[in-house]
Symmetry: C2
Subunit: 381 residues, 2 copies
């Protein structure tokens, strides 16, 4: 392991291919644990579970017709525990923490990851510390509190929150479960790709549109598809083009992709109502860019000002509660079609990464607020 | 059909028993449609689906230990589309409306039913009209709107909303999908009981604690259990005791149960933060009371003032977002145990009927008192 470089879990795929076949999965309970051979943990005694996984893959005919796409699908992650895709990664991260005997977990979050960590931490009976930008929706602040987590607002961005966690780990005996700082969230997110493959009968779609903040899901899915290909479980060699979607208020991946850079420059003054993609610098930037390029995909920024209306439109035409990040993907699909980068009859999948219910700002929640530019008195937390 | 009396769907159970066995269900996709033989609709062309059903049944060891119950389970309905159990009934109601060629649906709601009807109506491309008390959480007001439903606040209770819908049906060409006014919501709710049976390997629990407003779920589950018994699919003859849980701020079922009445008197000045059980008079009151009595169950009112703290406690000990109605069930379990009406080692199931996220009152929603039926200008979105 290189310091500050993500750990990458590798499997003995040859052995797995002999012990299990795709047909076996469908007979197992409908959670992400059905793919246990491709996960780092198979012992049920350590599985900290809230019933996560096997989210619906819904045809979106009316939205497709509106956009001019004849084969559009929505993978609705809002039906996971805590209403967002973050549950997949946190189920694995907290289960592995349980496996290793950890009791105090901390993470920076733009919102949904904090809710998921708080829930799984509560399920496991662990202490959880969550740090989020002070303008995070109060619904998520309240959610984390409702699971008994210790929640702190930070006068800054998610990158400031990440620094506060990193610098406090020793003093506070925290385990840092930040995206790609710990190796198992990506394995949990990988199950989005495994489910997609199973739900499409082991044929992958042409295009996947994925809103990209930290990028764990995009990296994880690409890892999943490559593992499936190596296992020989895919009925077709076709791999999907991975499309990273960001807002023009914060688009470091898009800029790096266009400039053919391997790493991103941090985005100055990031601004987006899509909290999950308001990430000025992703730890795994190079892994996101590699996946996009390896897959012949691309990175697209959509207009921040168009996101809210797109969410309303998609909600009305699909019957699903679209978070702003996923509404951005609807805009991206229209843009790519107009630019000739996707074709009208291609099989397109948009991930709805969470419920819009999580973006409500209600009454003020009473929480401590930390400065981003002064040392933190960890002992007083 | 008697006017003003609920229609009761009956099945040819003898024929069903010959055509399918419990073993068949587990191989089908994880939605409530896996039980199609016991539903009024099997044609996939009419199934209006958002991927509903097969919610997790979670062991609640830490909450159980706190309460003194060694075999406590939570059926987490918050993971359904729209975050509540109402999706089950509305999936069936809207599918049957589609089957019968209906296009304009209307319903009164205390909140969650409106969100579910709006989502399924949007999925089906139907017009939906929703009427809710003016103090319904703004999160739900916004939710219904996000699916394109026409939402009206009413200066009154759900019973007033129900009257407004009934009286407008002819003039507005609405189909009234109010609880038990239409016959299929109960068939959808029945699947809570079918899933419970399958998840417990066709042995029913000792006790089911269910928060009771309109009571469709309690009636539906009791119907399911009786159908399963008649089919001979249960491994044990034991039927669960059905416990109806209400708040002491609105407890018409509890009062009628104690007074040995067959029908309820409407509760005067109902008051509860648990919106879903703030129902002063249930259309199916006699059916709820019949199910409770037939099952040797009872009806319990808990202290309104204790509900919020119970929700926090349960969230911390289970890792699930408890709505206030379900937090009331946690209080009821403690009360019944103290009164000797349940035993410490009995298998107890509490339904968490929805996510607490749906109970946030945020900023005022921008069209809450929309006066009339303005057409949606999609081109302007």
């Amino acid at each position: 392991m290189h310091a500050d470089r993500p750990i990458w879990v590798r499997y003995d795929l040859a052995a797995i291919g002999k012990s299990v076949s795709p047909r076996d999965f469908s007979a197992r309970p409908p959670t992400l644990w059905r793919y246990s051979e491709l996960l780092p943990l198979s012992d049920p005694a350590h599985q900290i579970s809230l019933g996560e996984g096997m989210t619906p893959l819904l045809p979106a005919r009316r939205l497709g017709a509106y956009c001019g796409l004849s084969d559009l699908w929505i993978k609705d992650e809002s039906q996971l525990p805590t209403g967002s895709f973050k549950s997949r990664g946190m189920a694995l991260a907290v289960s592995m923490a349980h496996r290793f005997g950890l009791h105090r977990l901390a993470a920076p979050t733009a919102g949904n990851a904090g809710g998921a960590l708080s829930a799984y931490g509560a399920r496991a009976g662990m202490e959880v510390f969550v740090f989020m930008p002070e303008d995070t929706p109060t619904s998520i602040q309240a959610e984390c509190q409702s699971y008994g987590a210790k929640v702190y607002l930070v006068q800054g961005l998610i990158t400031d929150c990440g620094r506060i966690v990193r610098q406090g780990c020793d003093a506070m005996d925290w385990f840092d479960v930040a995206t790609l700082k710990e190796p198992y969230r990506i394995e949990g997110k990988k199950t989005m790709g495994l489910e997609l493959a199973e739900q499409f009968d082991w044929r992958l779609p042409d295009v996947i549109l994925y809103p990209t903040g930290g990028g764990t899901g995009l990296i994880g899915m690409w890892k999943a598809f490559n593992e499936l290909r190596e296992l020989g479980w895919l009925r077709s060699d076709k791999m999907p083009r991975m499309i990273s979607v960001q807002s023009d208020g914060c688009a470091p991946i898009v800029r790096a992709f266009k400039n053919r850079e391997r790493f991103c420059e941090p985005w100055q003054n990031p601004d987006s109502t899509a909290w999950g993609i308001r990430v000025p610098a992703a730890v795994g930037d190079f892994m996101i860019l590699d996946a996009i390029r390896d897959s012949n995909g691309c990175a697209v920024a959509v207009s921040e000002s168009a996101i809210a209306a797109a969410a309303q439109l998609a909600g009305r035409l699909v019957g699903v509660s679209f978070c702003p990040e996923s509404a951005a993907c609807v805009l991206a699909a229209q843009k790519l079609l107009a630019d000739g980068l996707i074709k009208p009859d291609e099989r397109i999948v948009i991930f709805n990464t969470g419920s819009a219910l999580k973006y409500l700002s209600g009454p003020q929640v009473d929480l401590p607020c930390l400065p981003a530019d002064k040392p933190i008195d960890y002992a007083a937390l």
